[in-house]
């Protein structure tokens, strides 16, 4: 029971963090068709900007302003780089954003050094929210979860229930038609890209204070975020949410499990033989928990190539 409750709590919160980062990525892909390799770099940028601002002013200023700064960077990238290569197709956009990711990483190293910086949450937030089974549950983890949930709600309402959402969706579905109806399509795209970047920036500002803020954070989270988006279905916000939670829960539960192939043989009385073989037989699930998201991606791609909630199933 204790294992189930704690693993669920941990898994859900980690899943929500993954969702925060992947939401912007899936938004940008869904609305603009751009697979943005530099997305995790916006996450890193958010953390570093928030770190800088929290040193100059305070944590909350960093949290609020960092997404705006990152949105600004995102808008510049869209306006002066992506728009130029858009006509040449996806491969060019992909290569451009891939290059940007490398450049962002080196720029961060240039300005902030190779080592993790000391970005901390304020003392006021550093307390235990509640105690489950003798373990304190840090409030900040709940804070990360709440920010993610609010973000999802706002995004969903914005896209599904407002006039802005209608224009954005129209621009994605039939850009020529929307343009001839008098909507400024390039401006819409620029806005979407900016909002997507801002979401990543916000995630960075929130999570950077909990996880280390270092020049590798984009690399570390970047891969897993792509897995989330692929599993959930490229472009589907709801799919991202479901996939994030799944990956969070699977990772969390797998860590507590000492299952191995040899354990299976125990059931039929061949356990001792299987244990003596070692190698693959005695490898426990917990030791490969980092691989589980990729296994999930493999299965989803085989069964539903467009992802769990992708449009093209």
């Amino acid at each position: 029971m204790e294992f189930v409750v704690i693993s669920t709590l941990n898994g859900v919160i980690y899943g929500l963090l993954l969702f925060m980062v992947s939401a912007g990525l899936t938004l940008i892909f869904g609305m603009m068709g751009v697979l943005n390799f530099a997305h995790a770099s916006f996450y890193m940028l958010g953390a570093y900007v928030a770190y800088t601002l929290s040193g100059l002013f305070d944590f909350w200023v960093g949290l609020l302003v960092a997404p705006l700064v990152v949105a600004g960077v995102g808008i510049l990238v869209e306006r002066f780089m992506l728009r130029r290569v858009h006509a040449f197709g996806h491969a060019h956009e992909l290569l451009l954003t891939f290059g940007l990711a490398l450049i962002f990483e080196e720029l961060i190293k240039l300005f902030y050094g190779d080592f993790p910086v000391n970005y901390q949450m304020p003392e006021a937030l550093r307390f235990a929210a509640f105690t489950v089974f003798d373990t304190d549950y840090p409030f900040y983890r709940l804070f990360i979860g709440v920010v993610a949930v609010i973000m999802f709600a706002v995004l969903f309402v914005l896209l599904a229930r407002t006039r802005i959402g209608i224009v954005v969706r129209a621009a994605e579905r039939l850009p020529k038609m929307a343009e001839s109806l008098g909507h400024n399509i390039p401006l819409v795209f620029m806005g979407v890209f900016g909002v997507g970047a801002a979401l990543a920036g916000l995630a960075g500002a929130v999570a950077g204070a909990y996880f280390p803020t270092n020049p590798n954070m984009a690399l570390e989270l970047g891969v897993i975020v792509f897995v989330v988006v692929v599993v959930g279905g490229l472009g589907s916000l709801k799919g991202s949410l479901v996939a994030s939670l799944m990956i969070g829960l699977f990772s969390s539960f797998s860590i507590g499990l000492d299952w191995s192939l040899a354990g299976l043989f125990d059931l039929v009385g061949l356990g001792a033989w299987a244990h003596s073989l070692g190698g693959l037989m005695t490898m426990t699930v917990s030791s490969i928990s980092g691989t589980i998201p990729f296994l999930l991606m493999l299965i989803v791609l085989l069964v539903r190539p467009a992802g769990l909630m992708g449009d093209r199933n």
Binding site: P116, T131, T135, I255, G290
Partner: protein
Amino acid sequence: MRTLAAFALSTAAIAWATPTMAEPLRIGIIESLSGSQTSTGRLYAAAVQYGVDLINANGGFNGEPIEVIEYDNAGGSTGAADKFRQAVADGVHIVFQGASSAVAGQITEDVRRHNIRNPGSEVMFINVGAEAMSLTGEQCHFYHFRYATTAPMRVNALVNAMAAAGELGTRVFSINQNYSWGQDMQAAIEAAAAAGGYEVVEAVLHDVNTIQDFAPFVARINAADPDTVITGNWSNDLLLLMKAASEAGLDVRFGTTFLDQPGNIANAGDTALGHYLANNYVPAAGDPAFAEAYAAAVGHVPVFVEPPTIFAVGALGLALADVDFAGGEIDVTEIAKALEGVTYESPVGPISVRAEDHQTIRPVVVSRVARGTQYPVDDTDLGFEPVSVVAGPDAIYPVQASCEMERPD
């Protein structure tokens, strides 16, 4: 054809006219100078350069200053194999590397093969940080020297010091990364149980630096109810583990091996207070002259992988003083033989090479994170306070049976 002949003649004439230059000793650093492990790779490179500068200030070697060439292995063994070939083409005599056991495994194998195929122009590999046991076990060979500790050395020292301080307890949780280093650590922790008077309540291996959320692991630690957690984790894996543990209100002592990596203490903050570290050197241990001299030259006291690297270059300097090629061709085998006999006096004790497997017999320093120490780290008020210095002969473990070293004649 005539111009070609004329060209050949003229170059021959130039070669004839130039006075014969002494062959400079070339040191190649094959490190992660880009990618995710840049920070550590840079420290190795800086420390080698510092050590070589000291030798060059005393006249260099073979009548020439020693040349240092940096090669970026981009963090992987493929890149390292590529750069090793380039280093050989550039005439490098001695390769330095430390940041990864996987890369070291590649380099040591490349060096071994190169030396078999090219008798008379051997290359030597000084390993300053790759701690996998196999490097001095089944992979050992005459031209590989390890100037670093290994898992059993660190764990034995750590366990003894923590037990002596009454902080070890009887229940130890082992959590390590699932590759050669982590597996070595786990084996060492289990092997030291009887001597340390503890029981390994659980041993966990996990993926290397891909896990973002350590809360589930902390839940597992909590369920096992240990007194001490011993871990060989480094970089993010260590930081995230310690942070998650402190946030969950877990009351355990950590015994670590890489807590001194720059940025760790700043990030962990007061969470790190009271945790233990077993490594090669902390500035507060031994003669402060070494740390002060480094600080004067580089701007900060030597940390993390810098001290063992400087010790290794220092030992090499002593070996070079024992050989003399009179400005002629450099024979790496002679240097390797000389290095075997060298005892380098580090600020915390002598370091010498064990001839059987070329593992160094070296002191291990156990320290504890405390407030208000002499050398605070990471711009915090925390630093490492030495608890004990375990002398080389007490820290060393028996030669592994798997090492069959063939010595040159």
